[in-house]
Amino acid sequence: MAAGAPVAGDLNGLLALGAVVAVAAAVAALGRRVGIPTVPLYVLGGVVAGPSVAGAIGLPTVEPAELTTLAEVGVVLLLFFLGLEFSIDRLIAARRRLSGAAAVDLLVNFPVGVALGFLFGLGPLGAFLVGGIVYISSSAVITKSLVDLGWIADPEAEPVLGVLVAEDLVVAVYLALAGALVAGGSPVDALPRIAVALGFLGAVALAAQLLAPRLTPYLGTSDEDLVVRTLAVALVVAGLALSVGASEAVAGFFVGVGVGATPLHDRVADRIAPLRDAFAVVFFAWVGLNTDVVAVAAVAVPVLVAALVSGPTKVFSGAVGGRLYGLSPRRSLRTGLALVPRGEFSLIIAALATSSPDPLVSSVVPAFAVGYVLVLSFAGTVAMSEARRIERLVGLSPD
């Protein structure tokens, strides 16, 4: 993830952003034509525009630091949206049918990821991060595929989306912990800082629960006020989180939970969605800009091993979850296939890893995550569109 020192050929901030958005638009058009999910393509676009490709052949490059704040806005808004859609009541209502599927998902995939991390010699922190990267499926890629393929109308949609919501809750807790652990130092030294970070996030969560309904009138009557004020709250809280060493993403999540509990939920979702899409693109491309192709190539073997192990374990855990949810074997297999793509959250964990003082974690884990997401978001999407063939292969064909 060596960003490289700024050189004379760097683009100014505006051009950098323009280049990133232009590349994003181009790859999205390309991806739509061949059915590749856009998340990994945005990352690839960033790689191409960044120091390790454009820079290597002497073209002016985008300096990642120019876009860091905008990328952070993307992370905050991605998690804000998860929070917005997250309903604790809904989760509790569905817990009897879902808890089995969600538990199998966590208890199979997280340990597999941790084991892979140790296998690759990344140490306890690296293994903990790889555990998260391997565990968390991509809501963005999966939801889009479900809609595109029409699976959204089939019975597997409920357990798939339900498991994704359960993962969101786990990842909020996970990121809070990971954010505090990555900052480094011995566990004993880190303890007060971890306590402050978790305390801050706890306070935000509590405030979201208690204050949000009363804040509704202050978020505004016009759409313009609503967007500006919601953004202000989300960014200030996330920024404060960063400054006390807590995860800005999790802070954004809890602000989203708070706003989601108000009657403004639908309007906010409507108005902020385009902003989230725009900044999320910047975040994905920024991950690509920070990615050193040589470093990714160096972890090609671990990436492939991890994909070959944890792709199937997701299919397995998802299929078991589908059976626990009461689906037929064929529908359960589809539940498993649908949960394979990894994406935005694995990349958020990767971005977190870059701030680790441990060079092994800060360079190898992000490179691994980028390669892993590229492989599995693509393979998972292909597996979904080839589901009929896979069903026939394992003897679960309907005809």
């Binding site: 859609e85 939801t143 479900l146 089939d154 949609a157 919501v165």
Partner: protein, 177 residues
């Protein structure tokens, strides 16, 4: 016939409507308002997408399917046709109407117009099948049934040209939006 509803977090809601046997119509309502309509031939079949509609179109199509929406080009009122010549019409009773402050019997609705009042809405209260002694007040909404001629006669007698606001049609009771 059973309708199953489920949440699709991040997408919207799904309704499944049981048809004959195992066949189901599946309606996915996206948070954006878009509706996708699928058909599933039997429990284990994959849903086939039939069509999708924007929010506005979906409401119009839904009202047509419901049979409550019939808007001849010639009139600007909304009526519900019952087949044959019979129709149902909603009217707000103007304060100056002969009907206001009277009972249905006193106003002699049936004898004078041929149409029947089949419901009276007073504020939030709705009286279905009102008996002849039921009172009607200015500002109430009455639901009238009869032949087109009878309903028009009702309109001319009790609604048209009497009140200051002359609110002859409801916009709230039968408007498809």
């Amino acid at each position: 016939m059973t309708v199953y509803e489920s949440d699709l977090p991040g997408v919207g809601k799904k309704h499944e409507i049981e048809l004959d046997g195992d066949e189901r119509i599946v309606v996915v309502t996206h948070n954006t308002g878009k509706r996708e309509v699928y058909r599933r031939a039997d429990a284990d079949a994959d849903a086939e997408k039939l069509f999708e509609l924007s929010d506005e179109l979906a409401r119009t199509v839904g009202t047509v399917l419901e049979g409550a929406y019939f808007q001849p080009v010639a009139t600007d009122t909304i009526e519900t046709m019952l087949g044959g010549d019979a129709l149902i019409e909603w009217y707000d009773v103007p304060a100056g109407s002969e009907l206001a402050g009277e009972t249905i019997e006193e106003a002699d609705v049936r004898q004078r117009t041929g149409a029947s009042i089949i419901a009276v809405q007073h504020g939030a209260d709705v009286v279905p099948n009102p008996d002849p002694g039921a009172g009607v007040h200015g500002g109430d909404t009455v639901v009238v049934m009869g032949s087109r001629e009878e309903v028009e006669r009702f309109h001319d007698t009790f609604i048209a040209g009497v009140g200051d606001d002359a609110a002859d049609d409801t916009e709230d009771a039968a408007d498809p939006n």
